[in-house]
Amino acid sequence: MESTGAKFDVTKLDLWYGQTQALNQVSMKIEANSITALIGPSGCGKSTFLRVLDRMNDLIDGVRVEGTVLYDGADIFGSADVIDLRKRIGMVFQKPNPFPMSVFDNVAYGPRVHGLHARTAAEKRHLSELVEKSLVNAALFDEVKDRLHKSALGLSGGQQQRLCIARVLAVEPDVLLMDEPTSALDPISTAKIEALLDELKVRYTIVIVTHNMQQAGRVSDSTGFFLHGELVEYAPTKEIFFNPRDKRTENYISGRFG
C-alpha cells in the first residue's frame, strides 16, 4: 500500500488502560474513500483502536497512548485541536444515542455547536437545508419528514441509528468511524444501513468495527483482523476472507474461535 493516498497513517501504536495494555504495536494505513472493516473477537482492541482515531479515549481516565497517528499527514496527538479533529472525523456508536430532543434539533446540534446560529432568515434556511440534506443522505428523510419536530426518542432503533449517521453528516466530516453500528438492530434496518454505507463511501472515508464477519465481507474494501490488541492481518477484504495468510485469521474466519 502506498502512503500517498492514506487518510490515516498509524505507526506502532501502543495503548494502556492503567496497567493493562489494550493495543500493542499496531501499524495501519487507511485509504481515503474506502470502507475499512475492523474485525476480531470481543476485547481484541478493535473498538479501542477506532476510538483512538478521533481521540475519544481522552475521555477515559488512566489511558496512555504511545506511537503516532497521522491524519492527512498531521499528528492527531500533536498540536492539532481535538475539537477540530472530532469535527472532521465523525463517529457512529454501537447503540443509537439520539439526544432527548427533536429529530431536527438532533441533526442541527453539530452545526449549532460549531457556530451556525439561525438568527437571520437566510441562516435559518441554510440550517434547515443542511438538516434536510443530511437526513436525505442518511436515507432517513422520507421516513421522518412529517415529524421533524417531534422527539427523536420515538423513532425505531434503525431509524435512530440512521439519525445518528445524519447527525454526523451534518457536521460535514470527511471520515466516518462506525463502532458496530448495526449490532443493536434488526436485519432489515441492518440492510438499509449497509446499503447506505455503499453510497457514502464515494464521499467519505469509512472505518467500521464489526463482529459480524458477513457484514465485513459484504461492505468493506479492506479488512483488519485484531486479536489480543494486535493487528494480526490487514489486507483487501477478498484476500482476508478467501486467502488469509495468518493461521489465526483463518481460524477466526472459519469460526473456530471468537
Binding site: 478521533d54 475519544m56 475521555l59 481516565d61 475539537i83 477540530d84 479533529l85 472530532r86 469535527k87 472532521r88 465523525g90 463517529m91 456508536f93 447503540k95 444515542n97 439520539p98 439526544f99 432527548p100 430532543m101 446540534y109 453539530g110 449549532r112 455547536v113 460549531h114 426518542l153 445518528c164 447527525r167 454526523v168 457536521v171
Partner: protein, 532 residues
C-alpha cells in the same frame, strides 16, 4: 396441633403488622383531616353575657351599616362600645378597615330618645361618646350612611322601610338579652362560684329543673326565677327572641322597677334582662358559654393583608413573602447547587479527595435547622449586618438546602448515559457545550425534582427562619426588609396567643403548598422513569 397453633400465631403477627401499617395511613388521615378541618371551619366556645338571640329591630329600632361592613350580628356590649368611644374603627368589630362613625338621631327628637333608651336603658343619664354624630332625622342619617364608608346608625325601622334606596345598606341584628342574677349567686363562696352556663345548663335552669344553685356549682341558695312584667319591652324581647321554654317563674313583679328591685333584692333570684337595663341597674350578669362556628379559610382570608399581628385581615402579604422567599432561595441555591453537581460529576477526578468531601457533606447534611438558624442569626444578621430580612433568611435557607440540591443533581447527572456525552463530543462539541446542551437537559427532570424537594423543605422551615428572616407581616420591600412567611406565621399566631383558628387556616394553606410541591416532584420522578 402445634402446627395449627403456630399458624394462628403467624396470622396474628401478620394481622398486627398490617394493622400498624394501616395505622400510618390513619395517622396521616388524622393529621391532615384535623388540620384541614380546623383550617376551613372554626368552632369555638365563646364566653359572653348575652344570649344567642339576635333581634333585627329591638324597640322598633335597627342598627344600619354600609354594605362594606362585614357583620352578621352584634352583641350589645359591642354596640354600646361603639357609641361610647370604646371603638374608633371597625378592625376589632368586623375586621374591616374603616374608621368608625356612629350616627344617632338627636336625643331631643322622639326617634332620638328611643335610641338613647336602647343604648343606655331606662334610668341612667346617657354616656354618649365624643365620636357620635347626631343628626336631626332618619333621612339625614341615611344620607350620611351612604356617603361615609364605616358609618353606622341606629334608626327607626319604619323610617328605614320608608326609604326607597336601602340596597347598599345592611341591618345588623343585635343580641341584648342576658341573664341577670342576684349578687349572692355570682359571688365567690367557699371558693366555689357559679360556672359558665352552657346551653344545656341554661335550659335546665330556666326550665325550672334546677332547684338550688349548688347544682350548677354555685352557692347553696334556692333558685328563684323572675318573670318579666307583662307589656314591658323586656317581655316583648323575650317573647320575640323565642328563648328557651318560657321561664317557670316563681316571682312575677308587676313593673320593670319592681322587677329590677326584685332581682337585686331577692337572694338567689335570676331573670332575663336587657343588657342596657342591667348595666344601668348594676345587675350581675351570668356568663354564658356558647359554641360559635363558621368558615375560617375564606377567599377573603387569602387576599387580604394581615393587620394587628394577624389578628384581623388575611395572609396575602405573607403568601407573597413566602413566594418571594422561595424565588430568591431558588435563585441563589439552584445555580450554585447545580453547578457544584456538574463540577463534581463532569469535571472532578473521582479520587479519594472527592470521596472524603462527599462523605463530609453527607455526614453534615443532618445538621439540624436550628443550627443553621443560629449561624444565620449571628453571621448574616449580625456580623455581615444584613439584619433580619429576606436576604439573611434566604441565604440561611440556601445553606440548608444546598446539600439536597447538589446530591439529587449529582444523581440525575450520573443517570445520563455516557453514550449521549460521547455522541456530542464525537460531533466536535466542546465539553461545556456537551454539558450545557446535552447532559443538563437530559438530567433536567431529576435536577428539577431535587430543586422542588429543596424548596419543599424551605417552605416548611421555621426554626432557621425565625431569627434570620424576621417577622414583619407586611409585604417585603427589599432584600433587607424583614418578612414573615407562612410557616413562621403559623408559629407566631400560636406563640403570641393571637388566634388558634387563624394558625390552623394558615397551616392549611402551608400544607396545600407543600402538597403541591410533593405532587410536582412525584410527577417529575414519574416522567423521568418514562424517559429512561
Amino acid at each position: 396441633m402445634r402446627r395449627r397453633g403456630s399458624v394462628a400465631r403467624e396470622r396474628a403477627a401478620f394481622g398486627v403488622i398490617r394493622g400498624l401499617s394501616l395505622l400510618t395511613i390513619a395517622i396521616l388521615a388524622l393529621i391532615m383531616g384535623f388540620i384541614l378541618y380546623k383550617g376551613f371551619r372554626f368552632s369555638n366556645e365563646v364566653r359572653g353575657t348575652v344570649l344567642p338571640y339576635a333581634e333585627r329591630s329591638p324597640d322598633g329600632l335597627a342598627l344600619v351599616v354600609g354594605g362594606g361592613i362585614d357583620l352578621d350580628s352584634l352583641d350589645f356590649p359591642v354596640l354600646y362600645g361603639m357609641y361610647t368611644d370604646e371603638y374608633i374603627n371597625w378592625a376589632k368589630i368586623s375586621a374591616d378597615d374603616f374608621d368608625l362613625l356612629p350616627i344617632a338621631i338627636d336625643p331631643a327628637k322622639p326617634d332620638g330618645s328611643a335610641t338613647a333608651k336602647l343604648l343606655f336603658g331606662e334610668s341612667a343619664d346617657p354616656q354618649w361618646g365624643g365620636l357620635v354624630k347626631t343628626v336631626p332625622d332618619a333621612a339625614a342619617a341615611l344620607a350620611l350612611l351612604r356617603s361615609t364608608p364605616g358609618a353606622a346608625a341606629i334608626l327607626p325601622v319604619d323610617a328605614l322601610r320608608a326609604s326607597t334606596d336601602t340596597k347598599e345598606l345592611r341591618v345588623v341584628p343585635i343580641r341584648r338579652l342576658m341573664l341577670a342574677a342576684n349578687e349572692d349567686v355570682v359571688a365567690l363562696v367557699d371558693n366555689r362560684s357559679i360556672e359558665d352556663l352552657d346551653d344545656a345548663a341554661l335550659a335546665r335552669l330556666m326550665g325550672g329543673a334546677v332547684k338550688n344553685w349548688k347544682e350548677l356549682g354555685g352557692p347553696d341558695l334556692t333558685v328563684k326565677i323572675l318573670s318579666p312584667p307583662a307589656g314591658s319591652t323586656l317581655a316583648a324581647a323575650v317573647a320575640s327572641g323565642r328563648p328557651l321554654s318560657a321561664a317557670k317563674a316563681s316571682i312575677a313583679p308587676p313593673s320593670m322597677a319592681a322587677y329590677e328591685t326584685a332581682l337585686s333584692g331577692t337572694s338567689g333570684a335570676v331573670g332575663y334582662s336587657l343588657a342596657a337595663d342591667a348595666q344601668a341597674a348594676g345587675l350581675a350578669p351570668l356568663t354564658l358559654k356558647t359554641v360559635e362556628s363558621g368558615w375560617n379559610l375564606t377567599w377573603k382570608y387569602l387576599v387580604e393583608a394581615p393587620r394587628l399581628s394577624g389578628k384581623v385581615g388575611g395572609i396575602s402579604t405573607i403568601i407573597l413573602n413566602t413566594l418571594l422567599m422561595l424565588a430568591l432561595t431558588i435563585l441563589i441555591a439552584a445555580p450554585i447547587g447545580v453547578a457544584a453537581a456538574v463540577y463534581l460529576i463532569e469535571y472532578a477526578k473521582q479520587g479519594p479527595l472527592i470521596r472524603v468531601l462527599r462523605l463530609g457533606t453527607e455526614t453534615l447534611a443532618g445538621i439540624p435547622s436550628i443550627i443553621f438558624g443560629l449561624f444565620g442569626f449571628l453571621f448574616f444578621v449580625n456580623i455581615l449586618h444584613f439584619g433580619f430580612g429576606l436576604l439573611s433568611g434566604c441565604l440561611t435557607l440556601t445553606l440548608m438546602i444546598l446539600p439536597t440540591i447538589v446530591r439529587t443533581s449529582e444523581e440525575a447527572l450520573k443517570a445520563v448515559p455516557r453514550s449521549l456525552r460521547e455522541g456530542s463530543l464525537a460531533l466536535g462539541a466542546t465539553k461545556l457545550q456537551t454539558v450545557l446542551r446535552v447532559t443538563i437537559p437530559a438530567a433536567a427532570p431529576g435536577i428539577l425534582t431535587g430543586l422542588i424537594l429543596g424548596v419543599g423543605r424551605a417552605v416548611g422551615e421555621t426554626a432557621a427562619l425565625l431569627f434570620t428572616m424576621g417577622s414583619d407581616y407586611k409585604l417585603a420591600k427589599g432584600l433587607f426588609s424583614s418578612a414573615r412567611v407562612l410557616s413562621s406565621h403559623v408559629y407566631l399566631l400560636f406563640a403570641e396567643g393571637i388566634s388558634f383558628d387563624r394558625a390552623f387556616s394558615t397551616a392549611t394553606v402551608l400544607i396545600l403548598v407543600v402538597l403541591v410541591f410533593n405532587f410536582a416532584a412525584r410527577r417529575l420522578v414519574g416522567r423521568m422513569g418514562g424517559v429512561k
